[in-house]
């Protein structure tokens, strides 16, 4: 493979030089949050040192500069996911807020008692609870499409009914790594005139996403899992839908004209951006996108697939290790359990070796229930991880098995 050099990428991430318990950090908790390249860190300090003021309101130079950078970041996001217009890019706090926005704005306007919202058995809590809240408010019903033991959706049983009003599905599962057949799901739903929200929190960092090719109606993701800062995220929505939706929160920026009798709402996307946004966060997210495009999402996807394959083969050779999530189409996540060793013990002991993994239910308790495990250990990879780090993980797991006897 040409051009892809993890060594060079690693040099861009200052934190990868840290030592944990005297050992070089091996960061394998990327599904929870990724580390930040220098480009993102510097973009953040550059804004505050040179370009910071509030956006969309001042006539002064700095406000104009901040606004240009902020809107420039929106354009970068648009291009990154190939949205048709930057009016369709709403800045939010993260995936969670994006989904809540759709539930409360689109949902309350279009979903009523007895109507159904269809999700899947592998959703993150943030793609479950906002719908449960909506159901409590409206009397709508939450339906769950099943998966098989490998952690793949059973498409034959992905059933929309006469009452289905919205489908909301993870593009990639954070607990299992499963990449869902989202294009097919969109076709199925659109066949019945039902819009689709895709939770892209996990998918976006691992490969190119084209919202127009997917034809999804909403797409949500978080900056902090995409090598950008926390506190900023994106809701993409088709302009036609966003236009018809009522505002979610009220305040400054989202209005055009206010009297005490009534207010006239601003145009897209500002209608959904009440209050001062995370200005520096959005700009730094733009820097993260520039950084990733410099490497190439295709190259990242290809490299991470090789890492995942390598890690999977090695893990399978360990006796007593069970991989949780063996979908044919997977992103770079290896979730597993060990016979006789609890994930929390694995997490603490790997940490002693400088290896950061997640141990727990990964905000997907229904997935844990499905596999009848209290928790799993999850190693999740990013473009800066190496084959040597996978070796260290595997060796660490073997040592743990040994001390537990």
């Amino acid at each position: 493979m040409s051009g892809f050099d993890p060594g060079r990428i690693r040099a861009d991430f200052p934190i990868l030089g840290e030592f944990i318990h005297g050992k070089p950090l091996i960061y394998l908790d990327n599904a929870a949050s990724t580390q930040k390249p220098r480009a993102v860190i510097e973009a953040t300090s550059r804004v505050y040192e040179h370009d910071y003021a509030n956006v969309h309101r001042g006539v002064h130079t700095l406000s104009q500069r901040a606004t240009d950078l902020f809107e420039g970041a929106r354009e970068k996001v648009r291009a990154f996911i190939n949205a048709g217009s930057d009016k369709e890019i709403v800045f939010v706090r993260g995936t969670t807020e994006a989904i809540n926005l759709v539930a409360q704005s689109y949902g309350r306007a279009n979903i009523g008692a007895g109507d159904e919202i269809l999700i899947t058995a592998m959703e993150h809590h943030s793609n479950i609870v906002p719908w449960q809240l909506l159901c409590q408010q409206t009397g709508a019903v939450l339906k769950v499409a099943p998966m098989n033991q490998a952690g793949e959706l059973i498409l034959d049983r992905f059933e929309l009914s006469e009452r289905t009003r919205l489908v909301s599905v993870a593009h990639m599962s954070n607990a299992l790594g499963t990449l869902n057949p989202v294009k097919r799901i969109v076709e199925l739903a659109h066949g019945r005139g039902v819009p689709v929200l895709l939770d892209g929190a996990q998918a976006v960092p691992h490969g190119a996403v084209d919202v127009q090719a997917l034809d999804c109606d909403f797409y949500a993701f978080s900056g902090h899992k995409l090598y950008g800062p926390s506190g900023i995220g994106v809701l993409y929505g088709k302009a036609k839908l966003l236009d018809a939706m009522p505002p979610w929160q009220g305040g400054g920026d989202m209005i055009r004209m206010v009297t005490f009798e009534r207010s006239e709402y601003n145009t897209l996307p500002y209608k959904f951006e009440a209050g001062t946004p995370d200005i520096a966060g959005a700009i730094a997210l733009g820097a993260a996108i520039d950084y990733l495009q410099g490497i190439g999402m295709e190259a990242i996807a290809e490299y991470e697939q090789r890492l995942l394959h390598y890690a999977t083969e090695k893990a399978k050779a360990i006796r007593g290790l069970k991989i949780i999530g063996e979908a044919a189409e997977k992103g770079a996540i290896l979730s597993f359990t060990l016979e006789h060793v609890h994930p929390h013990d694995i997490g603490t002991l790997l940490d002693q070796l400088g290896i950061a993994v997640r141990a727990g239910h990964h905000c997907a308790m229904p997935v844990m229930d499905f596999y009848r495990v209290p928790a799993t250990t999850r190693a999740s990879f990013a473009c800066y991880n190496t084959f040597e780090e996978v070796d260290a993980l595997i060796e660490g797991v073997q040592q743990i098995i040994e001390v537990f006897g």
Binding site: H21, H340, V341, H342, P343, H344, D345, T348, L349, Q352, A359, G360, H361, M365, M368, P374, A375, Q399, E402, V403, F404, G405
Partner: protein, 150 residues
């Protein structure tokens, strides 16, 4: 290997994890309580049989990490045969040492509990060690059906 963490993962912990004591359902329990740590999904069901203010029998079931299993197992050994008041004092002592509020407690005083004192250096794991004890405390107080470490 793992030398630096032997203060937490001592042989005693491994031993109690492999062979937890009093790990059984108690049919004639006078009180039963479910403990749950929502952070990690650990669950424990604690059974006690109290007669005349004395804990005549105590046992547990559930799935948890080595720290919580060993803690529960050691706890059953410690409080069995003790009065409710004594058991409560053990709870208080354990709570103080695991949260680092009492670093002076001598090893004689701590007895078997000394094994778990090391957990205070690992804040992320303190709740694993305290879950069984919180469950016991709730059972002694005859509180609601389940407790949670949150």
């Amino acid at each position: 290997m793992f030398d630096e963490i032997r203060d937490l993962y001592q042989e005693v912990v491994f031993d109690h994890n492999r062979n937890p004591r009093n790990f059984r359902v108690m049919e004639d329990a006078t009180r039963k309580i479910d403990g749950f740590n929502p952070l990690c999904g650990d669950r424990i069901t604690l059974y006690i049989k109290v007669n005349d203010g004395i804990i005549e029998d105590v046992s547990f079931q559930g799935s948890g990490c080595a720290i919580s299993t060993a803690s529960a197992s050691l706890m059953t050994e410690i409080v069995r045969g003790q009065s409710e008041e004594q058991a409560h004092e053990w709870f208080e002592l354990f709570h103080r040492i695991t949260t680092g509020q009492d670093e002076r407690a001598s090893f004689e005083e701590l007895g078997k509990l000394a094994v778990l004192a090391g957990v205070r250096a690992y804040p992320a794991r303190v709740k694993c060690a305290t879950l069984p004890w919180h469950s016991l405390e709730a059972a002694l107080k005859n509180e609601a059906e389940s407790v949670s470490t949150e």
